[in-house]
Structure formats: C-alpha cells, structure tokens
Symmetry: C2
Subunit: 384 residues, 2 copies
C-alpha cells in the first residue's frame, strides 16, 4: 500500500484456491473466536465461556457509568437511556439458541475466506432485558417508520470500509415481543465478549443480527444500506450480484459426538454394545417437528426421541436421543432435523460466496473397538 490508504491491508472478499490450506489470517480469527465444544450440548443452557463467539473487530471496554443508549431518528421523542433506566423498564427472559451465519463455512468447496467455522458456532443462553418494543413504544414510532438501525461500539475496517458495526431490522421484526435489549446472560451481567453492557437479541435470526455493545438505535423510513446489510451477509453465487439477505436460522441437528476422542483427529472411539446417542436440534424458520438419525452414513434414517414440544422455550434447541447398538468397525453417524413445513436438512452444503446459512447434515466418524484394544502401530521414534 501507499502511505495514505487502507486498500492493501483490507482486501476484497475472496474464495480460496483449490487445495489452498487454511491461511494464517483465517487461523488468527479461529484463535480469537471459538465454537462450542459439541459435548456442551449436554447442557440445556450453555455455560458461560462455551457459547460460540464471533467478534468482528475488538471487544470494546465500556464504562457502564458513562455508557448511554441513544434512541432517535423517526420517533416522537428521542431518548437517551442509561443502564438504570433500562433496568427499570419491564423485564423479560428468553432462552435462545444462537448460531453464526457462517457456521460450516470451512467445509465448503471452494472455501470462502473468512472466519473458518466447522460446525460448532452455536450456543444457547437465557437472555434477560427489556423488550425492544417497550423502548420503541416509549420513543414512539413516527409515520412511515420502515426499519430500525442498531449501532454497536465496536469499530474496525472491513473490505476497505471503516465502520462501527451496524445492522437493521424491519419494524415488524423489531416489534416482536421476544426481541430484547439484553443486559443479562444466564442470570449475570453480560460478559464483555457478549456485548456488555447491552446487546440486541433477536430470537430465530442468525448471530450477526444480535448487535453487541449497543449504543444507538435509529428508526428510518427506508431500507438500511450499510456494509453489514448490503455488502456482507448476502447469499450470492457470483461476485457483483445483489444477492438475498441472510436472515433466519435454517434448521439443523447436531449430535454430541459419542464415546471419547483421539486428540489430533478428534475421531470418536466407542465400545461394542448399546450406545445412547444424544444431540440438539433447532430452527429459526418453521419449528423442528422431528429428528432422524442415521448410523450407516446416510443410507437409512430412523426417528429419534425428541424432548418437549417446543412450547416452553420456542426459540431454544430441543434435545433428542437415539439408542444405537455399536458393532466393531467404522461407522458414520448423522442426524437431521425435519421442520413442521416438511423441510429436511440437506446432505450437501448449499454453496454461496460468503459461506452463509449452511445447514448440511453433520457427519461423525466413529470407530468401535473392544476395550483394551492393542495399539497396532507401536510407539516408536516417530511418535516422539
């Protein structure tokens, strides 16, 4: 680059070359951000620190005493609210399964170059806060209000564009009763990495919607065209297309990988005999109606036992169980969600240039061996 521009350090989006390994830039994102270890699906609510995390820029360190939320634009009365004012308003807790829109990106072929998620970018939390519509109601929506724009305090550059992180919602989505301005997660003040002191939580939508470190809400009469809305988070087959916006979470089921792992390959080892499989399934579109499991690499599918009816926590994942009798040898396990409108998770990844909204069926390689199986490749000098 020259000495006056950002072009060279902030390049355009790209797709990896054939056989291009994960780059150090992708790895740097993977080292900062993290998925949820899949064994944590054993918990109904993901313990703090295990919920997936994606941070576009840096975590802002905000002073809660100085922090304010501004509410303005096309409203009857602009507001400036501190945390005490928000806590004094009606309070609601919603259990929400949140998933990154880029989950599964690293397995796409060719691979879009960005945060290289495999399949773990998910988590479920109990968010507590004031319903957004209470705040919008207090400010009063003006005539012609079409969208609500949310601005976070995190600041950075992306593909040459310097920005605070911003996303919008149509007014009808913003006024849904379960949309929160959340100041607590799992009963405690938000952790810094989850948006302290305040974040937006929009149940059913992919993670990018849930703006963290929220500092401004602006009501507008026209669609928002900021970077994260019009450039990023679009489904495109070719560069240059306008593309479709990424919105709600597609249905997905994931198994807790059974047995125990090999450290490096993460391949699972189980013993011959009964193995209880379990996992979680969720959808931000039509609700999950059933889950099916395959223990033969997708050749055949059988229904799993599905907990609950989705009534108590309609925005959270549901647990499923399946009893499998493992025989010696290699196996490939999968689960797939089927929603009330008959949608079935696809076996192949739906490719797009950004690597978004992928919900291909998970494949879990498992090796079944008797206890005490001798190691066939004895430890030698190569092992040291």
């Amino acid at each position: 680059m020259t000495e006056s521009g950002l072009g060279e350090i902030s390049g355009p989006g790209r797709v990896a070359e054939v056989d291009e390994g994960i780059s150090l830039e992708e790895l740097a994102l993977a080292a900062r951000n993290h998925g949820m270890p899949l064994e944590a699906m054993r918990y109904d609510v993901t313990p703090l620190g295990l919920h997936y995390l994606l941070i576009h820029y840096d975590i802002p360190m905000l002073d809660p005493d100085a922090w304010r939320l501004a509410v303005g634009g096309l409203v009857g009365e602009p507001l400036v609210l501190d945390l005490a004012a928000l806590r004094a308003m009606p309070r609601r807790t919603v259990r929400v399964t949140m998933e990154c829109a880029g989950n599964g990106r690293a397995r796409l072929d060719p691979r879009p170059v960005s945060q290289p998620w495999l399949v773990e970018a998910v988590g479920t939390a109990e968010w507590t806060g004031v319903p957004l519509r209470e705040v919008l109601g207090a400010a009063g929506l003006g005539a012609g209000a079409a969208e609500v724009v949310f601005t976070g305090a995190d600041h950075g550059v992306e593909r040459g564009v310097e920005q605070d992180y911003q996303r919008s919602l149509p007014v009808a989505e913003a006024m849904r009763e379960e949309v929160l301005l959340a100041y607590e997660m799992n009963g405690a003040p938000l952790a810094p990495q989850h948006g302290y002191p305040l974040r937006l939580v929009v149940p059913g939508w992919y993670g990018m919607t849930n703006v963290k470190w929220l500092r401004d809400i602006t009501v507008t009469d026209e669609p928002f065209t900021g970077f994260q809305q019009a450039v990023a988070y679009r489904l495109r087959q070719e560069a240059g297309e306008e593309g479709e916006p990424v919105t709600r979470i597609r249905p997905r089921a994931l198994l807790v990988p059974p047995g125990f792992p090999d450290f490096m390959s993460r391949t699972r080892i189980v013993r011959p005999g009964p193995v209880r499989l379990e996992g979680r399934a969720w959808s931000g579109e039509a609700p999950v109606e059933r889950v099916e499991v395959s223990v033969d690499g997708g050749l055949s599918w059988a229904p799993a036992e599905l907990d609950g009816d989705g009534g108590t926590h309609p925005w959270a994942w549901r647990r499923f169980r399946f009893d499998w009798t493992a025989g010696p040898g290699r196996h490939e396990l999968s689960a797939r969600a089927v929603t009330a409108d008959g949608t079935v998770q696809p076996e192949e990844e739906p490719w797009n240039r950004g690597g978004f909204a992928n919900n291909a069926v998970q494949r879990v390689p498992v090796v079944c061996v008797p206890a005490g199986t001798p190691v066939e490749a004895p430890l030698g000098s190569e092992d040291l």
Copy 2:
C-alpha cells in the same frame, strides 16, 4: 485401519511439510479451544470466557455429589475427599497467569502439527482452593516420596495411547505454598471447561501441569513415566530423543494491539499523533524486571513504564505502558521482557519438534493513517 486397532485414527506426532497450510484437523482444534483476544489484557484478571482454553479430550460432565478426590500411594493414610471436605480445609486465593506450553506453535517453521496457537494462549485468573500441601500433609507423605501424580477425569487417545490425562510434579514443587487444589475461579465455582469441580493450579508452570477434573492424587517413590510426562511435553530437536521436560513458563511480553483492526487481516490502524501503548509481561522463571518496547521493527528498544513490583501478585502478569507518537505509514511494534537474571526474550523462535516453550518477541504490524482516509481500492464487484 483394520477393525481392531486404533493405529490409523491416532497417528504419530509430525511436523508439517514445507508450505503445508493449516489442516482441517488443526482447525478443528482451533475451533474448540481458543486463545485470549489480546485486547482482554486491559483487565488485570481475565473475565470468564476470555481466558485461553485447551482441552485434550472432551469436557467431562461430572456430578459434584458423586465426585470424590482419592489421595493414595506412598502416604500414611489414604484419603477420599468430597467437595465439602475440601472446602472445610484452609483456603487461599492466588492470582496466576497461565500460558499454554504450545503458545506460538503455529508460527514455527517447520510447524509442529498440533493445536495451532499463534500468540494468544494466555490468561490470568484468581484461583481459590485448598493448598495442595494441606491435603498431602493430612494424608502424610511416606518415606521416599519422590513425585506426586495427578489424574483427571478426561479420557481419550493420543498417538495411539488410550489414557486419562495425567501429569506429575516433584514433591518439592508439590509442597510449594502457592500450589492449589482450586474449586473457584474469579470468585465462582469452576466452569466446566476449567476443570469443575476441582483442578490443580501450579503457579509459574505451563498450562499442561494444571490438571483439570482432578479425581486422583498418588504419591510415588519414582519418576512418573506416563504419556504426558515422558512422550508429550518434551523439548526435542529430533524424533527419538529423550528430550528435556517442559516445566516453567518462559518470560514473555505482549502488547495490546493498538487502534482498531481490519476484520480479515487483523492489521491495526492508528491515527497520527500520541498513542498510548500498553501490555502485560510475565515469567514463571526469574521475575520480570523490565520491559522494553520497539516501534521500529526491533532496530531500537526503549524502556516501558512497568506497574507494581510483582510483590502483591508474584505469579501474575504485570502491566506496562509506553507513549508512542505515531507518524503516517507502516510500523512494526514489539515488546520484550527482561528478567531479574538478565534473560531477554529472543527475537527468533526457539524451535523444537513439539513446538513448546516458544517465547519469541511478538510483532504487531500497524498502519498509521489520518482519519477519513479514502479507500484506495474502491468497492467493486470483487468485494461482494
């Protein structure tokens, strides 16, 4: 593999080929485990969820009511302790900076294939628990006691060896007053991923020492030769060497990357003028005596202002500050720790086959541009 062995799914340790990108196996580890976003060094004590995390196998989900700690081997009286019994013993809190022994591995050339850390595998916590020597004192060390072996509840396979995670300490290290059996982290019960309900904390030693999900302590009269002691965590130049054991944390200083980042390259952007740099420095060997900063790619070094004298929290990192006047253009920032025995952090990585105990000086590329700098490569179709 054949149907009876683990050889093929659990291979020997290896070093990457020249120009071999990060593999999906390495990425899978990076997606589960995570470093500490370096801006979190602004906190004296790392908030939960930001401390680095490395899990060899799966996180065990342990029932605290059923859980017991067994203390046996070469002792006067074997003990079986529940959590209430441990909490009834003398209690101590120690602030500890912990670092993974593999920190920096992914930048080594050639790259040892394992958890691919860049430089973020560190964190500082307030650990509370019973001093280990209280428990060993209650059991009574037998004559000839040489080592203490710690066994966790996490189970897996590593390079063909099925195992519970185990490490040992020489008795003299185990009896240090600040070595804890910790049941709290930052004032709360341990999170599952940090070893709930009990873990070993050995201030000054690399992370692998601090056995999580502790279930057994056995005193022995000879050196422990388990996998994690005799095979893994050794400093070797060639396969087959016995190697030196990895023990204490080498001195390191890290800067909080200043300004704001580009999303993909993580390159930092700052404005011309005064920039206050800050960071943290630590050592498990001789204490950090001073920190030096370079703003010219290591050509020259100047002393940073170093907080505290290490007296209050001798096992925790110390904050340093440095006032820099940034001029337009590209810069490379670095910091290096100098210890009381005169050791200076090396500029080049000390290579070994496992990629352990690397403490090479961090390099932070920074671009200084005036506010409002136009983007030189305008957004075009390539950006979408």
